[in-house]
């Protein structure tokens, strides 16, 4: 975890512990997006996984900024917009979304 960031969001012990468990949930959501992307790539994206990816992108967009993760929050908001606008169904947009999702994963891991 970046010490400067720790100070900037006043992340004392309890909040740091909170973020540790929250980051694991956040990464599970990122994995859901990865699975949806992979399934869409194989033209095998089912209704349930599509819905789960939409919900998880939405939740990431809403939650990460509250933990003070500005970069991850911006990326999640962008990913949520992409999913809502149908990026999973178009190869070019899907490729861009895949890049976003990996940057998002990196940003979360960097703050763990």
């Amino acid at each position: 975890m970046n010490p400067a960031r720790v100070n900037s969001i006043d992340m004392a012990g309890e909040l740091a512990t909170l973020w540790r468990s929250a980051s694991a949930v956040a990464l599970q959501r990122v994995d859901c997006l990865r699975r949806a992307l992979a399934a869409a790539e194989r033209d095998a994206l089912g209704v349930d996984l599509r819905a789960a990816a939409g919900v998880d992108a939405h939740k990431l967009a809403g939650a990460l900024g509250m933990y003070g993760l500005e970069e991850a929050s911006d990326l999640a908001i962008e990913a949520d917009r992409a999913v809502v606008s149908g990026a999973l169904d178009h190869a070019d947009a899907r490729a861009e979304l895949a890049v976003l999702v990996e940057r998002l994963a990196d940003a979360i891991v960097e703050e763990r």
Partner: protein, 225 residues
């Protein structure tokens, strides 16, 4: 103590709100969907509801409408939680009777301010402000000696987190497996927590000790006794 009901299906949002409002002195109850939230609001004794717009079972708008229709919750303040992309829905929320809204991701401090504006400051904190010998609350004027120890506890917790992370990363690079890392994390956090708790108890003891010291003015006011 002012009681706040949080209705949000995202555990990350719920746990952070619970933590921050709890820290500010509010008593917080959380529910995960619209139906459960509505039931809790109607049967519980809350001073304010934080209501997510997009909820399973019953949407935030529907919950808000039901709250306004119910005699026991007609005047209960409601703050909607919404994403920027849903801001258009906020008008529907106001039409349904919401009092305010906050856009996610929001700053926890901003949320606490909004909650205080509608629910009033938590009573518990007011009591702390007038309690003799107690530490000054955040932003308070007089610093009790215990406050310095509390600052030390916070700094200890804060500074140890990056050290622990670096150590865990080093161990992971050296080939430690997930179970070992998890066990070490638990141990380190338990140790840190125990240390911080000890400092908190020390701070309270210091404040109590200072409160027990006779105030000089009292002696001056009764000469000759």
């Amino acid at each position: 103590v002012s009681r706040v009901l949080v209705v949000d299906d995202d555990e990350l949002v719920r746990q952070l709100i619970e933590f921050k409002l709890g820290q500010a002195g509010f008593e917080v109850t959380c529910t995960e969907d619209g139906e459960a939230g509505l039931a809790a609001a109607v049967t519980g004794d809350f001073d304010l509801v934080l209501l997510d717009l997009m909820l399973p079972r019953l949407s935030g708008i529907e919950v808000c409408r039901e709250l306004r229709a119910h005699p026991t919750t007609r005047d209960l303040p409601v703050i909607l939680l919404t994403l920027r992309s849903q801001e258009a829905d906020v008008e529907r929320g106001f039409a349904a009777g919401a009092d305010d809204y906050v856009v996610k991701p929001f700053s926890p401090r901003e949320l606490v301010s909004r909650v205080e504006a509608l629910a009033g400051p938590p009573v518990e904190r007011g009591r702390t402000e007038t309690s003799p010998g107690s530490a000054a609350p955040h932003g308070g004027g007089t610093a009790a000696p215990g406050e310095a120890v509390r600052d030390l506890a916070a700094a200890t917790a804060r500074e140890s987190a990056p050290v622990l992370d670096a150590a865990l990363q080093e161990l992971a690079r050296a080939g430690a497996d997930g179970r070992t890392l998890a066990a070490l994390t638990s141990w380190a956090e338990a140790t840190r927590s125990a240390w911080v708790d000890s400092l908190a108890r020390l701070a309270d003891a210091l404040d109590d000790a200072v409160a027990a010291v006779p105030v000089p003015e009292r002696q001056d006011a009764a000469p000759g006794r």
